[in-house]
Amino acid sequence: MDIDIRDLIDEEDEDNQEEMTAQKVLQNVERAWLNEKFSPEILPHQTDYVECLLEQIKSMEGNLAKLTKTDPKVDLHKLELERIKFVITSYLRTRLKKIESFCVSVLEEEATRSEEDAYLSPAELKFAKEFALNADNHFDTILRHMPHLYNNLDRNKKIIEPNLNSFVFLKCNKHIDSVIIKNTLEGQEEEIVLEDGSQHLMPYSSVAEFVKRGIVQLI
């Protein structure tokens, strides 16, 4: 009997996880979009949510095709789909831009992560690798015609890293007891409490962890 009950509970838990409504998924993607827009570095990918939304859009488009054109709700549905597509494309484009800018450092960091906590989706990883390869090939072709001394680019010369200390605006979704901020001006550290719902300006590096866990929203 015991086992049965436990099985039931497990099943219920799974159900709860799957019961995430389309509305929640949309909100998650919108939040990820804003975070990605404002954070200096690339954030863990949200492919699951994006794929889920894309599927929703597909099935909605299928349903719409069956409706008559005069139905007043057709327009609203179409408009909503366009709005969602805008958010998704803007989100993905922001990520691609970061991958292009910080290609070498993104790939290096990605190599240290396991598959479960990868920051890039498989497609993005493929893109990054190809982009790096193409850039390398391009520089090789040019550098071949340079004096021997300059034939090779070493890693430090081609790497561009995001400035993790750049300042960001943020809103706190939960009370955080302690955030350490490094004050470069005075060479010391400050510790502050972030109240639930409060808005702040501070270096990204101080809150990077909280952004990735979804406790802090960049604005």
């Binding site: 389309a22 509305q23 949309l26 919108e30 827009k37 404002f38 200096p40 939304l53 929703q56 909605m60 007043p72 709700k73 327009d75 609203l76 549905h77 408009l79 909503e80 709005r83 969602i84 805008f86 803007s90 831009k97 970061k98 800018s101 910080f102 850039a135 520089f139 340079m146 300059y150 680019l153 070493d154 430090n156 010369k157 081609k158 790497i159 561009i160 890293e161 995001p162 400035n163 200390n165 750049s166 300042f167 960001v168 605006f169 901020i181 490094k182 004050n183 470069t184 001006l185 005075e186 060479g187 400050e190 502050i192 409060s198 808005q199 702040h200 300006l201 501070m202 270096p203 604005i219």
Partner: protein, 202 residues
């Protein structure tokens, strides 16, 4: 970097009341939620983008939000003048919502011009406050600031200049502090996505 139109896009998700002029018995099941039923003459809540779309097709009338009235806005203005800090506003997107509603549905909102002026006064007052606090912030050399009750559009008005200035200041100070290891010529370049350029220093 956020374009003002993208903030307007976010503002369009806010909920307002409309009075439809048509009947549609069922709910409309949108991905962002279900809205309805639409009955001629009965007010209901919808996102602003739905309201604007219906209004443009002349199938509804938009009810101005409670705060969008000249006397209410004047009260806010007085409060804002009296307070040293930023006061909490009834809407996080007051400027955008006023702008959108008055553009599309100016006939539905009484005293539209006065509302526009009042909202503009409020905005000007808050932006002036924001600018002087930014000035103070940089002069005092602080690294953290509370920005409670500032709206996204207001924050965006000091971006990217303000954070970029701070970034530059911090980088300069870091270089002064670490002048010992200036010899290290192979320092990697640091950039933000918008200003990043691939420049191998040969």
């Amino acid at each position: 970097m956020m374009h003002p139109s993208e903030i307007e896009f976010m503002a369009e998700n806010e909920i307002i009341q409309i009075v439809p002029t048509f009947n549609h018995a069922g709910h409309v099941h949108l991905i962002c939620g279900s809205y309805g039923p639409f009955r001629a003459g009965l007010p209901l809540n919808v996102p602003i983008w739905v309201a604007l779309n219906l209004r443009q097709k002349k199938t509804c009338r938009i009810l101005a939000p409670d705060w969008m009235a000249v006397d209410k806005l004047q009260e806010r203005l007085e409060e804002e003048k009296a307070s040293k800090f930023f006061t909490q506003l009834p809407s996080n997107f007051y400027l955008e919502i006023t702008q959108m509603l008055l553009t599309v549905a100016s006939e539905d909102i009484p005293q539209g011009n006065d509302i526009k002026t009042a909202v503009k006064d409020l905005w000007d007052l808050r932006i002036a406050k924001l600018r002087s606090s930014v000035d103070l912030f940089i002069k005092e050399g602080r690294v953290q600031a509370s920005l409670n009750h500032l709206t996204p559009m207001e924050i965006n008005s000091v971006r990217p200049v303000f954070p970029d200035t701070l970034d530059a200041l911090m980088t300069l100070h870091e270089h002064i502090n670490s002048s010992d290891d200036r010899e290290d010529s192979s320092q990697s370049s640091i950039a933000t996505p918008s200003s990043a350029s691939f420049s191998p220093s040969l």
